[in-house]
């Protein structure tokens, strides 16, 4: 196992780069980061729609999240693989396709987290903001969202763990990321699939475990802050 890791470390970390496209862990992290950063504002929008006073917005956003959450990511990736080029009218790289699919998928899950954060705030926060004459949007922007997002920060970090694992599915449309690297290593070594995929698992585990620990640390810190100790 260590031999595999030692012999193919570069392939695992950066793929064929610098002679070829960037891949491996680096590309996995880029995929996940892009997915998180782009789906986040979307998720906030969807979550706000879900708690908004306008019924058609609530219904639409609710239907959207239920639909997306009820479909496997793999299907969304396949679907995006064929649909995105049609929508854009041009050829689209596998990487872009994967990012789009992850954004759609994760925004629905993140929206659930943000919505839970908004709904768990005491009703009085919104009432007092509106009583000061702030519009609904202003109340959201200055009072509700800052509190909801702080409270939900650990959950959001935890969700990024799921995003990292989700990126492995980009492999099926040929995006050179970590899983793709492992498959390449497997074809090179040929006789050691078990060990190769153990190494792959270890990579994912280290990334995700570190993030989970970070989320736990954040949670404790926020709890301390709320008690006024920090």
């Amino acid at each position: 196992m260590f031999e595999i890791l030692h012999d193919h470390l570069a392939l695992f970390l950066v793929g064929a780069w610098p002679s070829g496209p960037l891949g491996g862990v680096a590309n996995t992290l880029i995929l996940a980061a892009l997915g998180l950063v782009a789906s986040f504002p979307l998720a906030i929008g969807v979550a706000m729609a879900q708690v908004s006073p306008w019924r058609w917005l609530r219904t639409g956003a609710g239907a959207w999240t239920r639909l997306v959450r009820g479909i496997p990511l793999l299907l969304i990736i396949f679907w995006a693989y064929f649909a995105v080029p049609l929508l854009v009218g041009a050829e689209v790289s596998a990487f872009t396709t994967a990012v789009c699919a992850i954004i759609v998928y994760e925004s629905a899950f993140l929206a659930q987290i943000v919505r839970a954060g908004l709904e768990s705030l005491p009703r009085g926060q919104m009432e007092s903001a509106r009583s000061a004459g702030l519009s609904w949007l202003q109340s959201m922007r200055y009072v509700q969202l800052p509190q909801a997002l702080t409270n939900m920060l650990p959950s959001i970090v935890n969700q990024s763990v799921s995003i990292i694992k989700a990126t492995s599915l980009a492999y099926v449309i040929g995006v050179p990321e970590l899983t793709y690297s492992a498959a390449q290593v497997n074809t090179i070594t040929l006789t050691k699939p078990l060990q190769t995929f153990m190494v792959l698992a270890a990579f994912y585990f280290v990334l995700c475990f570190a993030l989970s620990r970070f989320a736990g640390w954040l949670e404790r810190r926020i709890a301390r802050h709320r008690l006024g100790l920090a």
Binding site: P122, G124, Q125, E127, S128, A129, R130, S131, A132, G133, L134, S135, Q138, Y142, V143, P146, Q147, T150, R226, L227, G228
Partner: protein
């Protein structure tokens, strides 16, 4: 300044407010009292449309607050509302709590809003807490900040919905003192409270409500000494002399 005209409200088939007709003039302090569930809080919340009404009119400065073309944000900016549970913005410091409305709604400059925040905090006796976070303040302090926050909008009318009901007994007076000062300065106020001593001392008129009806509208002297309605007499007996009844219950 504020006028209820045959206001009715229902929760489903439950009739919460039954044809409320009443008026508050400029500079008046009206204390609304009555047993719990009588509709006092619901009534005060209808004024800024925190609760909808099904029929009747509520006029503030001569304008119907539930009019379809009315701007609810502009209405609320002109009416201060103090809640039972304070509801300070938990993510903002005391200072920021006091400048958010004035800067975002009234368009006051930050400097002017800051200066005003300092003056108002000094007025409620909390000048030294300007940079504190709400979570680090006692209940009484939070409620005083909440009053200052409402005053920061320079409203001609202040509404108080049981402002001392969530407070420990020793903190009630510091909040009532601030409200007393406001009354002395001529602020028009509508106050839902169980503090009968305060009502007797500060109110221009007392409204007594029971089961959604406004049963009495009288100056405090008359209300406390010679309540016209039997229900009000019983209520006063209960709140003013709780000790013997409790003793009787224990026996």
């Amino acid at each position: 300044m504020l006028q209820f005209e045959n206001v009715n409200k229902y929760y489903g088939t439950y009739h919460v407010l039954k044809g409320i007709d009443a008026k508050i003039g400029r500079g008046e302090v009206v204390v609304v009292c009555g047993p719990s569930g009588s509709g006092k809080s619901t009534l005060i919340r209808t004024v800024t449309r925190l609760e909808a009404i099904q029929s009747g009119r509520i006029l503030f400065e001569g304008r119907d607050v539930v009019a379809r073309n009315g701007n609810v944000n502009r209405l609320r900016a002109r009416i201060g509302f103090v809640f039972q549970s304070f509801n300070l913005f938990q993510n903002l410091s005391v200072r920021q709590n006091l400048i958010l409305g004035p800067t975002k709604v009234l368009g006051l400059s930050r400097d002017a809003a800051h200066a005003q925040a300092e003056t108002l905090l000094a007025k409620v006796g909390l000048a030294n807490k300007i940079d504190a976070m709400p979570a680090n303040l006692s209940g009484g302090q939070q409620q005083r900040v909440a009053i200052a926050r409402a005053l920061a909008m320079k409203p001609p009318l202040m509404l108080f919905d049981e402002p001392t009901s969530a407070l420990d007994p020793e903190m009630v007076q510091e909040v009532l003192q601030v409200m007393r000062t406001l009354a002395d300065e001529g602020m028009t106020m509508m106050i839902v409270t169980h503090e009968m001593g305060f009502a007797r001392e500060v109110a221009s008129r007392v409204w007594f409500m029971d089961e959604g009806q406004l049963l009495e509208d009288a100056p405090p002297a008359r209300f406390f000494d010679r309540p016209a309605h039997a229900r009000a007499q019983r209520f006063l007996q209960d709140v003013l002399r709780p000790a013997p009844r409790t003793a009787a219950l224990i026996d």
